[in-house]
């Protein structure tokens, strides 16, 4: 029997397992949540993700650094792997698919992986191209998967300029696709100049932005379809 009290206790356990980068506890709590009949969705969002939000705060206030962040992400995935097969319905109200990767010449993928994690928990279909991805591959993969969103990452100024080329190519082939860029050298200014729809300062912002973008896109599609019916 799942009491409110038990539920609260398990959510807290999931949350703390992520914050304290404790993979074993995350697994244990996730299994326990399923055993007592908690909604997987609830356990993910109010447990694991809520822990990750706190981790984000600790990162911002410089109590945590990248090593801790990576270990917290491992704990989140440990729980997510158990819960995900049991997710009935995600209540974000939006589902989408995303092509993500680090551009050619750049072998840094930590930032990209954190953003990817946020899409994973949100239930997006994620097509991860990895790192050092030839620029044409982004366009190819977007066309193949008909993804709503393409996320480009670059960690170095030296590779950032490759993103502009991908944006131009994507726009030429598929004007409707939403494009988001991120990485240490990227700024809102650069995103605007190069015509990206979004700029992700960090992983949480990336997810929020992505959801907004896809909502806007779906709305456009619906309006277009409604327009057709009127005629």
């Amino acid at each position: 029997m799942l009491t409110e009290e038990k539920k609260k206790e398990l959510l807290e356990k999931l949350k703390n397992a992520v914050i304290q980068y404790d993979e074993d506890t995350a697994k244990e709590a996730a299994q326990e949540a399923l055993d007592v009949g908690m909604e997987a969705n609830d356990a993910i969002f109010n447990g694991l993700v809520s822990g990750m939000q706190e981790v984000g705060r600790l990162f911002e206030s410089q109590e945590y650094f990248v090593p801790e962040l990576l270990m917290c992400a491992d704990a989140l995935y440990a729980g997510l792997d158990i819960l995900k097969p049991h997710v009935k319905q995600l209540d974000l109200g939006i589902k989408g698919s995303v092509v993500i990767g680090t551009v050619e010449g750049d072998v840094h993928d930590i930032g990209k992986n954190i953003v990817k994690m946020m899409f994973d928990v949100a239930g997006f279909n994620v097509y991860d191209l990895g790192r050092d991805v030839p620029l044409d591959k982004f366009v190819e993969e977007q066309m193949k998967t008909d993804s709503d969103l393409v996320c480009l990452s670059a960690m170095m100024t030296t590779t950032m300029t490759g993103m502009k080329k991908v944006i131009d190519d994507l726009r030429a082939k598929n004007p409707k696709v939403k494009i988001m860029i991120g990485g240490a050298p990227v700024s809102q200014d650069i995103a605007d100049k190069w015509g990206a729809d979004g700029y992700a300062k960090d992983a949480t912002n990336a997810l929020k932005d992505a959801i907004n973008m896809i909502s806007a896109l779906k709305k456009l599609k619906e309006e277009a379809e409604a327009g057709k019916i009127d005629k």
Partner: protein
């Protein structure tokens, strides 16, 4: 009599008075303008000593930049340790070589040894030859420099950065052992560059920025090995770290390095206060968002700000990004020549 750029930079390192502060760097300085005059492709200049030396000399020859520095990529030591590199020979874009195949694939493979005959592996001999050629070409006029990676940054080249970062937290002893070994390799590499005739060496420890690692870990895990390297160098050493560095500038200097180099994220006024007036602090303009995409006016203001904030040399926060427009490079040099604090 006016000093040559070489005299100006050497005086700076030896702590003597000079007519003004120099504008130079210890990191890559090749430009597409320079490559155009030579007719070289970017991908070709990493693999040929003459092309490397010629390319490195162009920023002095075209714009009066007060140094010659080579190589241009960050893979030399990793390659000599057995990594495979990719120079993107197919590409017309400006892609810097990266590591294609690492030598350490997981935690259990961290117990590596420095290969026999290390100093003759990979491109170490090629870089030395290029240093000699560059020195012959422009060494009377400007100081010539080269760089090595810091041990932590080098570790990130030869193993997965993801693993390295987590292990630096979970198993610092194991990481420390690797950094100790890599320090030896770095000392050997730098020793060869010294023999080839460099006037100064920059140790690029970008991986240890406070954007990634806590100042505490910098101090406990990385500092001892940086210190070990600096102690073994004969020529002046400059330690460079990018990103957030205000909390580690004191440690950087305490390694014994002659100078420290920081990028645009550092608050130089604050660093200057911390380090005192005599410490050599190089920096810290944004080589892309100022020098490449700015107007000459923006460049001018950025250089003045560096000087007003108290740098000892106007020096970019990273490699000069090759597509810098000629008028911006000129505006930079003119401003540093004429502006006084």
């Amino acid at each position: 009599m006016a000093l040559t750029s070489r005299e100006r930079v050497l005086k700076l390192f030896s702590g003597e008075e000079a007519d003004r502060i120099p504008c130079f760097s210890g990191m890559g300085n090749v430009t597409t303008e320079g490559l155009k005059t030579l007719g070289y492709k970017f991908a070709a200049i990493h693999l040929d000593a003459k092309k490397m030396a010629d390319s490195a000399a162009t920023s002095y020859k075209l714009f009066g930049y007060e140094c010659g520095v080579l190589p241009f990529d960050l893979c030399v030591e990793a390659e000599a340790l057995g990594c495979q590199i990719n120079v993107y020979a197919h590409s017309e874009d400006l892609l810097y070589p990266t590591i294609k195949e690492k030598v350490i694939h997981n935690e259990n493979e961290m117990d590596i040894a420095i290969p026999d005959n290390f100093i003759n592996k990979g491109r170490i001999p090629l870089v030395c030859e290029a240093i000699g050629l560059m020195k012959k070409d422009i060494g009377n006029d400007v100081a010539v420099g080269s760089y090595v990676l810091g041990p932590f940054t080098l570790a990130g080249q030869i193993m997965e950065l993801n693993d390295l970062l987590k292990l630096s937290f979970k198993k610092p002893d194991k990481v420390g052992k690797l950094l100790d070994l890599l320090s030896e390799a770095i000392i050997m590499t730098a020793g060869e560059y010294e023999k080839a005739g460099v006037d100064y060496i920059t140790i690029r420890e970008m991986g240890a920025t406070s954007d990634v690692l806590s100042p505490r870990v910098f101090k406990s895990l990385i500092f001892p090995y940086l210190k070990k390297i600096v102690e073994k160098l004969m020529v002046p050493a400059v330690i460079h770290t990018c990103g957030k560095t205000n909390d580690i500038v004191t440690s950087m200097l305490e390694t014994g390095a002659r100078a420290i180099s920081v990028d645009q994220k550092n608050d130089v006024q604050e660093s200057r206060k911390k380090l005192g007036k005599d410490a050599l602090l190089f920096g810290n303009f944004d080589p892309y968002n100022v020098l490449v995409t700015g107007t000459p006016e923006v460049v001018k203001e950025a250089m003045k700000k560096c000087i007003d904030d108290g740098v000892s040399a106007v020096w970019p926060g990273c490699d000069i990004w090759p597509t810098v427009p000629a008028e911006n490079f000129k505006a930079m040099m003119e401003t540093v020549k004429n502006y006084r604090r």
